[in-house]
């Protein structure tokens, strides 16, 4: 165990030093990356995120190729359209049948410098709360076993929420702290472009927050919207202190659930995708004033989130009214601030380049650019909202505290 610790701290030091000089970065030995994914099919998260490390990505006005080399891949399922074998052949790495072998590259010791876990898409069961049971915890646990057995741990990125289960998510974070390896997770919403380029002032007093999007019921999209909201509110005065309760409501009660109409109005003013009459004849619409909103959204869903410091935040699913993600908050001294989280179009989905650049940064420096607790808390909110079933649910387990990164982490250059 003593050796283990020394090895970890030495590597940590080397990692930081290596990045301190970007000029020398390309002369360093490329970091060896293992990809652990559910499926590797065109436009699956595994493909578009994994490929960033194979072919590079647009960043800061250039085509950026991080000094990293994918050396091994594990795919849990190989449906029709699987690209894993083709990629392995073209880029000179191997697909291994188990996660342990992937991390050890067929040797008997951990043989990679970082692990990219992408467990989104693929055929997995859904639980009675509508959550898809992607094996993120299981993939992660396999990696941890190898780290522990081989006496060395490397940075791990886990795409999207840590797990459908907060309990499992919490165990993942604990393991990373116990073995001292950095972990980054989450959605691309917190790091993508914003229209306008607006950030919550650090330490501001947020009176109320609201996110609106086309989600609700589907934990995949809910997580994106909730983490988009979380990356904004975590900058409030006092930092993040966790969530006291959540409640999911649906139907007409959503319209009078205590959230402020001026926040919805601000959020909708940022949307480029109003539906209904806009689709029919191109017109602009004040969806609220015309009453169209209530006609278009036949099944509204609201997630009401009460934070432990008293902040109330609402995520509105207005399926049928719009297709993009827009946020608004009332901030003392600043009025209502609002923005759109820009999800750039398929197939490029360049927002995932914004996210993979953060991952590359952690792989290179062994420092996560933003805290995993954001993703942990959002994983817990997502699960609790799905379990609420209309009732207010106390969430003592979500007393997750953390400080937001001082520097803004979204794409703006």
């Amino acid at each position: 165990m003593q050796n283990w610790n020394r090895d970890l701290s030495r590597r940590s030091f080397l990692g930081t030093a290596a990045i301190a000089s970007t000029l020398s970065a390309q002369t360093e030995r490329p970091k060896r990356i293992a990809i652990i994914t559910t499926i590797y099919r065109y436009l699956s998260h595994g493909q578009h995120m994994g490929d960033r490390f194979l072919v590079g990505y647009p960043h800061d006005g250039e085509w950026h190729k991080p000094n990293m080399q994918v050396v091994s891949l594990y795919v849990d399922q190989k449906p029709e359209g699987d690209l894993s074998a083709q990629r392995a052949q073209q880029f000179g790495f191997r697909v291994y049948p188990t996660i342990a072998e992937t991390l050890r590259c067929g040797t008997d010791k951990l043989a990679v410098d970082a692990v990219l876990i992408v467990a989104e898409h693929g055929e997995y069961p859904t639980n009675s709360f509508g959550q898809k049971l992607y094996p993120r915890f299981e993939f992660f646990t396999e990696c941890v076993k190898v780290f522990e057995r081989d006496g060395r741990a490397v940075p791990v990125y886990n795409d999207k929420h840590l797990s459908y289960s907060f309990d499992k998510a919490q165990r993942m974070v604990k393991e990373s702290k116990r073995l001292g390896f950095p972990i980054l997770g989450g959605s691309s919403l917190p790091v993508t472009w914003r229209l306008p380029d607006v950030e919550m002032p650090m330490g501001c007093q947020i009176e109320e927050a609201l996110m609106v999007g086309e989600n609700g019921g589907d934990d995949a999209m809910d997580f994106h919207a909730l983490e988009g909201m979380q990356c904004m509110v975590e900058r409030r005065r006092g930092g993040e202190t966790g969530v006291r309760s959540v409640q999911t409501i649906q139907g007409d009660v959503v319209w009078n659930a205590g959230w402020s109409i001026d926040l919805l109005s601000a959020a909708l003013s940022r949307s480029d995708t109003p539906l209904g009459m806009t689709v029919k004849d191109g017109r602009t619409q004040d969806l609220i004033a015309t009453g169209e909103l209530r006609r278009l959204v036949t099944q509204p869903v609201a997630y009401l989130v009460e934070y432990r410091d008293g902040l109330r935040a609402t995520m509105l699913n207005l399926r049928g009214a719009l297709r993009d993600f827009n946020f608004a908050a009332r901030v003392t001294g600043h009025g209502v601030m609002s923005t759109q989280f820009l999800l750039t179009p398929e197939p490029n989905v360049t927002y995932s380049a914004c996210l993979m650049n953060k991952v590359a940064e952690m792989f290179a420096t062994r420092r996560a650019p933003y805290p995993i607790e954001r993703t942990l808390l959002t994983s817990g909110i997502t699960e609790a909202c799905h379990r609420s079933q209309g009732k207010r649910l106390d969430t003592p387990q979500l007393a997750v505290t953390y400080a937001a990164p001082k520097e803004s982490q979204y794409c703006r250059s």
Binding site: V55, G61, S269, G282, C411
Partner: protein, 393 residues
């Protein structure tokens, strides 16, 4: 304050629909739903093909009446100018083409008939003219001269200069620009104008301001690829612009976002076009249309004293499946509103006079076998507005 709109066609996603609807219905602006503080009281529509929305709009907005002539729209059926501002949208509709392939949109005619009412009434009001002034340079110059001699505010141009930028950055005022490139898409006498306005709204901010353009040469087909291989325009700038795109056509099957080689581009782009031109004070600019490769407008420039190119995307949330609302018209309409309210154009009409001339020169060069044309008529000097006018809030 009363406005008249003079348009070619009012159909779903025609420019008139985007612009006039914003004046009638309002639009999302600065975090709330904005109703322009003015009334659109009259409309002239030159063509009413199938899908016409003008009658629907007149029925829903009884404050707006449709008139059968431009004069009547401006006088509200009386004998004197009865509005405080005119919006001219001469884009879309069925109009004949010139032998060089330019669509003869009647912007000059709309403008002339408007000015005749001004003259007959002894009063002029501000005019907003969507896109370039005219396909015909002489007419465009005449429109400009008339606005100056009669002394009314005149605003025109594309939404590219005023829309969101990703990232949200501005050309530093008084920058020393060496070379600039825009990589975009679309056709000749169409989106080329948008590409030129993209370049010009940035370049006009350089040290000394605008001095005009000395020559232009267009490239297409084999000559385009040959010029590209000879680095007639900077490959570094071309690449930087391409790295701002969100719509790169994947060059290889199974990949969603890969950087193309020149061979990939030759396969993907059937009809590439470039207009290269030099400003009188030296900087060289190249507007590149690459339909098949990108579906957005990307800018890059080399600045003295800065190692990396300055690059950004002028972002059009395009309702071609990506969005439902062409919200890049919102900042355009908002700038027009500012002119109507203040009596001052927020940015100089000379920008659009120059890009109008460049568009025509591009067409002429292509028509003359892609030869290099001297453009002494484009020695147009002007200073940019002090304030940035692109969408940031």
């Amino acid at each position: 304050m009363k406005l008249a709109a003079i348009v070619t066609v009012y159909r779903k996603y025609s420019h008139a629909q985007h612009i006039v609807d914003r004046l009638l219905e309002g639009y999302g602006w600065n975090g709330s739903y904005h109703h322009p503080p003015m009334e659109l009281v009259s409309l002239y529509v030159d063509q009413t093909p199938e899908g016409d929305l003008s009658r629907d709009r007149a029925a829903r907005f009884p404050g707006m009446k449709i008139y059968p002539s431009i004069a009547e729209a401006l006088t509200l059926g009386g004998n004197k100018l009865a509005v405080d501002g005119v919006v001219i949208v001469g884009e879309h509709g069925s109009y004949p083409k010139t032998p060089k392939g330019q669509v003869q949109y009647p912007r000059y005619r709309f403008f002339q008939e408007t000015v005749q009412v001004f003259k007959a009434s002894g009063r002029s009001v501000p005019i907003f003219n969507d896109k370039h002034l005219s396909w015909n340079w002489e007419w465009a110059k005449q429109m400009y001269d008339t606005s100056r001699s009669m002394g009314f505010p005149f605003l025109a141009g594309s939404s590219l200069p005023v829309t969101w930028r990703i990232p949200s950055l501005e050309m530093p005022r008084n920058a020393r620009v060496k070379e600039a490139v825009t990589v975009c898409y679309g056709g000749v006498d169409s989106y080329d104008f948008h590409g030129l306005e993209t370049l010009q709204c940035m370049l006009e901010r350089r040290a000394g301001g605008e001095t005009g353009v000395a020559w232009l040469q267009a490239y297409r087909g084999d000559k385009f690829w040959d010029a590209m291989r000879r680095n007639v325009w900077s490959k570094r700038l071309f690449d930087a612009a391409l790295c701002r795109s969100h719509t790169l056509t994947p060059a290889r099957a199974g990949f969603n976002d890969v950087f193309p080689t020149i061979e990939d581009m030759q396969r993907l782009v059937k009809n590439p076009v470039a207009y290269q031109y030099q400003h009188v004070d030296g900087p060289v600019a190249t507007m590149i249309l690459m339909s098949g490769l990108v579906r957005d407008f990307n800018f890059a420039a080399t600045l003295e004293g800065r190692s990396a190119p300055l690059s950004t995307q002028m972002y059009l949330p395009m309702p071609d499946g990506r969005t439902t609302l062409a919200n890049f018209f919102s900042p355009l309409v908002h700038n027009a509103e500012q002119m109507f309210l203040t009596g001052k154009a927020p940015y100089p009409i000379e920008r659009t006079l120059l890009t109008t001339g460049l568009t025509a020169a591009g067409v002429d060069s292509l028509y003359a076998g892609q030869s290099k044309l001297n453009t002494p008529h484009l020695s147009i000097r002007y200073q940019p507005s002090d304030e940035s006018t692109f969408w940031r809030s």
